[in-house]
Amino acid sequence: MKREDESTELWLAKLLKLGVLFSAAVIALGVLLFLSTGRSGYADGVFPTSPGEIWAGLLALRPYAVMLAGLFLLILTPILRVGSSILLFWRQGDRLYVAITALVFLILIISLFLGKAES
């Protein structure tokens, strides 16, 4: 059991590290663009909020859009952590923890939608 736990943790750590470094790189690119051009790519005090606007701004390399894309990726990293844990517990044949982690994942998704309904 000990060795299985070890491989789970290493897998999780590697996946998460990649995700975090990638999102940090995108945010840093946005900040560098902002500092070097001195412009946000948008009017004062305005920034894009919808996925479409952010995507369009990202392709045009507008600094604020690049930063927001990176921040969005960062928000996804913990969700990635839970999702990948389900797969890894599954691979170990640990049904109890597949169930526990899947339950957490489900509650997470529900709370995401609950929040949407609220706002």
């Binding site: 736990d5 940090a24 920034f47 923890y97 982690t101 509650i107 997470l108 709370s111 929040g115």
Partner: protein
């Protein structure tokens, strides 16, 4: 422009302290942004949600590799936290948050006193495994770089810990603060985990809880990139350094730093409750 740089510097400090103690760093970020930089409270809260996720993800890079994080405990307790967050969302229109700030502020102050009584101890002694911990296979061990040896540990008070996580989730859903502190206290006081394991596992969990609500903040336009981006980068850097320092620290020292921080958070909560009236 200059403020981007200063926000970045403060964020490094927030990430460092947050990763050391298993908190989100919101206790530093929110007051710093609103008081020093006069940032709108809406954007300050958005940035502190980002700070929580950045602390968690930055810390997780180091802790998971070192087995300080107990993934099983984290996932199991996350059931309580996420259910609590939903409860909090339902209650938010129904209850007067003013009294909640006061009640939880007092509760936290009491817990700080409880933890202070244990301040002299380094590792928990003579812990009897809770039967549920046996079934859930929560007992484990970690390599302590401060002590230079493997530390096995047993897990007590599983239901008490789970209940505390439910409370932590509910208050973070309702009030948006203090959930990391309650998580560490739950693992420390009920489950009797070693301080480092409590802190690292709390770090693992807070990011998951925060991510659930972060999407809403993001699309509502509360995450202002000019503020949140330097916060994210600074906190990530601070967290990576903080985790490395924490591994080598004595558990006793971490506890000694934790208690006054807890007092600050409880006072923040109580003041907020009083001012609301």
């Amino acid at each position: 422009m200059a403020s981007v740089f200063f926000i970045f510097l403060i964020a490094i400090a927030a990430g460092f302290l947050g990763s050391l103690l298993g908190l989100g760093g919101g206790i530093i970020m929110t007051p710093a942004l609103t008081l020093l930089f006069h940032v709108d409270i809406r954007y300050a809260i958005g940035a502190s949600i980002i700070s929580v996720i950045a602390t968690s993800s930055g810390a997780a890079i180091t802790y998971l590799k070192d087995h300080l994080t107990n993934v099983r405990i984290g996932m199991f307790l996350e059931i309580g936290t996420t259910l609590g967050a939903i409860t909090g969302a339902f209650l938010s229109g129904l209850v007067d948050t003013r009294y909640l700030y006061l009640i939880f502020g007092m509760l936290m102050l009491y817990s700080a006193a409880m933890m202070l009584r244990k301040a002299g101890s380094d590792l928990p002694q003579d812990v009897v495994t809770h039967p549920a911990a046996e079934r859930l296979r929560l007992n484990s061990s970690y390599y302590d770089k401060g002590l230079g040896r493997e530390v096995p540990y047993r897990v007590a008070g599983v239901y008490g810990g789970l209940g505390m996580m439910y409370v932590a989730g509910t208050i973070s859903g309702l009030l948006g603060i203090g959930s990391g502190a309650f998580k560490v206290m739950g693992m420390d006081l009920f489950m009797k985990l070693p301080m480092k394991v409590s802190s690292a596992t709390s770090n693992f969990m807070i990011g998951v809880t925060a991510a659930a609500s972060a999407g809403v903040y993001f699309f509502r336009g509360d995450i202002n990139p000019g503020i949140a981006a330097p916060v994210a980068l600074g906190v990530l850097m601070g967290a990576v350094v903080g985790t490395r320092v924490m591994q080598r620290m004595k558990s006793r020292v971490i506890r000694i730093i934790f208690v006054p921080v807890l007092v600050v958070v409880s006072v923040q909560m109580i003041v907020k409750g009083v001012l609301m009236g």
